[in-house]
């Protein structure tokens, strides 16, 4: 709950932390919200957002792609994205097409690492880019940022504090005896920091009765996220699974896109007025093969697409399928004659978003958040 005392405490703590770390810039008191959704498994961008204006698209997928509705004179959305149509029309949703990370080898796990580390080379860093962003912003309180869902995501991992919280929380006898856990873990190099996070989670759990959708699933994840972001949380991330559509893509991709539509529309609804100050970025580790495979699906590819959503887009690039250079789909235009050719680096757009949201400088973006990325020729996204 945001009250004056907590708010002042947060600001004071952030200031002290920044001074301590020699950071002059502290955006921890920004009122802008960032939600990062990782679409794990590799979304087929050519089925989700179909380039119907490319004459080769129909040849490429004579029967393969799902029913869709046109959103401009070149692109059409998969029918499972229908709930997002009003947002697109209100300039609260955009798609960026033919993007990728610098990774090219089509392994889910390495590709996700690239997306989450935000780095050029696979092994230069073991922290997630969101965690480095928190550090740069001077976030010092656990509830400033949250990794929502069971498990933990690399994109959030690192030394800066954040909540790592699931949706199912009954505390049993711990609810009035966390002091014993503190004693038990005090001084332990691994468990003491975990306890600080567990305790912050437990405080959030005690408020869980306010959530509109308690329990499990994407609805519960979004409820928890929205409730925290209406309070002190500024940055949150969660995953949506089920994009690895090697077969039966018609059914499977529809389900995953429905989950994405639900997530975005529900966040808007539950965030209420805060939606106006929110940016959602949804990205997947790679796209899929341009041709359908022999089993009614697509295999791992390269070029993909990312979604942007939120009230903040209305003053910028909302209501567009952004694509600076469509690579084409004829045989010779595909990467290795199989994948949509990526024409831009997804990290550039994420970087520009961070510059607009929190005033992160080009120098910090290309050295600390997305090492090696070229953030030139900036597009004003929001």
């Amino acid at each position: 709950m945001i009250n004056r005392r907590n708010f002042l405490h947060a600001v004071a703590a952030a200031g002290a932390y920044s001074a301590m770390r020699g950071i002059t810039f502290a955006a921890a008191n920004s009122d802008k919200r960032l939600i990062v959704i990782i679409q794990r498994g590799g979304m087929d961008s050519l089925d989700a957002v179909q380039p119907i204006g490319d004459p080769d698209f129909a040849k490429l997928r004579p029967t393969g792609s799902a029913r869709s509705f046109a959103v401009d004179n070149y692109f059409a959305f998969h029918e499972a994205l229908t709930p997002l149509k009003p947002l697109f029309e209100a300039k609260e949703l955009s798609v960026i097409h033919s993007l990728s990370t610098p990774y090219r080898n089509r392994s889910h796990f390495e590709a996700q690492d690239y997306l989450e580390r935000g780095a050029d080379a696979h092994d230069t860093t073991d922290t997630g880019w969101v965690n480095r962003l928190i550090t740069l912003m001077g976030g010092t309180k656990f509830n400033f940022a949250a990794d929502v869902g069971s498990g933990s995501q690399l994109v959030m991992r690192g030394p800066a504090p954040y909540l790592n919280i699931g949706t199912n929380n009954e505390l049993g006898f711990w609810s009035d005896s966390t002091q014993f856990l503190e004693m038990l873990y005090n001084g332990d190099k691994d468990f003491a920091p975990v306890m600080a996070g567990v305790q912050a989670n437990m405080q959030q759990s005690m408020m869980a009765e306010d959530d509109q959708h308690p329990g499990k699933g994407i609805e519960a994840t979004c409820s928890l996220t929205a409730r925290m972001m209406k309070e002190e949380c500024r940055i949150a991330s969660f995953s949506i699974y089920g994009w690895d559509t090697h077969d039966n893509q018609e059914t499977r991709l529809g389900k995953s896109l429905e989950a994405l539509s639900t997530a975005i529309t529900q966040l808007k609804q539950e965030l209420g007025p805060v939606w106006a100050n929110t940016l959602v970025i949804a990205a997947s580790e790679f796209g899929r093969t341009a041709h359908f495979n022999g089993t009614g699906g697509t295999d791992h590819g390269t070029g993909g697409a990312a979604f942007l959503a939120g009230g903040l887009l209305a003053n910028g690039e909302g209501g567009k399928v952004i694509n600076k250079k469509w690579p084409g789909l004829s045989h010779d235009k595909l990467l290795e004659a199989r994948d949509l050719m990526p024409t831009d680096d997804v990290r550039r757009y994420m970087g520009w978003a961070l510059a607009d949201l929190y005033g992160i400088s080009p120098g910090d973006l290309s050295s600390k958040i997305f090492p090696g990325v070229d953030v030139g020729s900036k597009l004003k996204l929001i």
Partner: protein
């Protein structure tokens, strides 16, 4: 038990053994045997699912004007599969809780995670436990090649990584139906099951391997994985610098590739790395190298590799560098206290809900690690930092009151000494002495760092 035995029992088992004695080397002398009961159960379930799916389709066709007919059939089938799954999860947990072969049980979980399933659909939910019982357990003491073939050509894996409908485009069936193949299983075998990422393959090798794998599928009438030449891509394929197959596709073609991969030096180092990380923890390069050498010199004889694992000095080193995963944590917790048998039975619930038990099925649903449902084919992580996140530890803490409520009364300090042995820290002892209730004190033992580490 002396200190060295405690260490081994934590590292290779679930903590203190039920009969006071832990002898993993002796377990390796027991001859593995086929689980005929599980085999026939597996076949029965596959045939049942096939029939029921056909019935659901028929119901839809016969009642074109009544879409509810298919829905009703589907609902029935879902309930049956949920019941299978609840029973299977319960039995898997209880098999580990009551096992006097802790090391074998841990190995079974290790290999089931190496050849991981993501049981997200009916077929996989109904077959995952039986996959472990029929495919992993009987084959994990022989050669890696045998285990590899058994796992990849099991009904569960064939479905999970989409081999079931993968057809050679120039095969008889492919020509007629215009169907083709996908790359899922071929890619993951290379990346996750054998040579590992960076193990010396490129995209073309994945395509070649995927073609070689066509032809293998689950025959629904018999419930068996069979090779049908009319579905397999004909022609010689070049993969990782070698030639496989010929004009007439044969069963042997895929097996030749499995043999090649099982003998590949990258496989030896990848398996050695994974065994080390799982049982002993990170940064044990000497153990890894020794296991790798044994894997190579014994041509992948897994029992020989396990013997090296058990006797290497790194395996006797003090505990604490590694973390128990959720399954090991849960089984260890359920073994630690004395629990009334009745409380550990699977109980039926309201009519439309599958049976349950809050300690077994309930725990596996609410801990981070779900049985047979890793978020990806990579399986669950062996990186201790993964299990040290607040959400993982938080979920464990939430389960603890639900478990210790069923523990028979025991003096907490004695319980701590019995369960934690030489690893009991003075800090844990002093904390439980201050605890405001006996249950809380017992719970603190299960929450302690030394209970969660290994």
């Amino acid at each position: 038990m002396n200190d060295a035995e405690y260490t081994k029992a934590f590292r290779f088992g679930y903590g203190i053994p039920l009969n006071g004695k832990f002898d993993p080397m002796a377990e390796l002398e027991i001859l593995p045997k086929r689980n005929l009961e599980a085999e026939s159960e597996l076949v029965g379930r596959i045939i049942y699912l096939g029939e029921q799916n056909a019935l659901a389709k028929e119901a839809k066709m016969a009642n074109a004007d009544n879409p509810d007919a298919k829905k009703t059939k589907n609902k029935e089938l879902n309930q049956q599969v949920q019941t299978y799954h609840a029973q299977d999860v319960h039995n898997a947990v209880m098999a580990a809780v009551t096992s006097d072969q802790m090391f074998s049980n841990r190995l079974q979980a290790f290999w089931a995670n190496h050849f991981a399933l993501g049981a997200t659909n009916r077929f996989l939910r109904a077959t995952a436990r039986l996959y472990e019982a029929t495919t992993i357990r009987p084959n994990m003491f022989g050669s890696f090649y045998d285990l590899l073939v058994a796992a990849e050509l099991s009904p569960a894996m064939v479905y999970y990584l989409n081999l079931q409908n993968s057809i050679g485009p120039h095969s008889k069936f492919g020509n007629r139906s215009k169907k083709g193949f996908n790359e899922n299983l071929g890619r993951e075998i290379l990346e996750l099951h054998t040579v590992g990422v960076g193990g010396g393959y490129i995209q073309d090798d994945i395509v070649a391997f995927s073609k070689i794998l066509t032809g293998w599928h689950v025959e629904k009438d018999s419930g068996q994985v069979v090779f049908t030449p009319g579905r397999a891509e004909p022609g010689t394929k070049s993969m990782m610098g070698k030639s496989f197959g010929g004009a007439k596709p044969q069963e042997q073609d895929a097996k030749d590739v499995f043999r090649f991969l099982a003998n590949h030096s990258s496989t030896a180092s990848f398996i050695a790395h994974k065994l080390t990380a799982h049982f002993v923890g990170p940064n044990n390069l000497d153990l890894e190298k020794t296991l790798e050498a044994e894997f190579k010199s014994s041509s992948g004889n897994l029992t020989a590799v396990y013997k090296v694992l058990l006797t290497h000095p790194a395996s006797a080193a003090p505990l604490g560098k590694n973390m128990r995963n959720d399954f090991v944590f849960l089984v260890s917790a359920l073994r630690a206290g004395k629990i009334n048998q009745q409380a550990l039975e699977l109980k039926s619930r309201q009519e439309d809900k599958p049976p349950g038990n809050p300690m077994t099925v309930g725990s596996m649903e609410n801990l981070t690690q779900k049985l047979w449902a890793a978020p990806s084919p990579k399986g669950w992580s062996d990186d201790p930092s993964f299990w040290l996140s607040p959400s993982v530890i938080g979920a464990r803490l939430i389960r603890i009151p639900i478990i210790v409520k069923h523990f028979e009364d025991e003096e907490p300090a004695a319980f701590a000494a019995r369960v934690l042995g030489p690893n009991l820290r003075p800090q844990t002892l002093s904390t439980i002495k201050l605890a405001s209730s006996r249950q809380l004190a017992l719970g603190l033992v299960l929450a302690s760092p030394e209970f969660n580490r290994s």
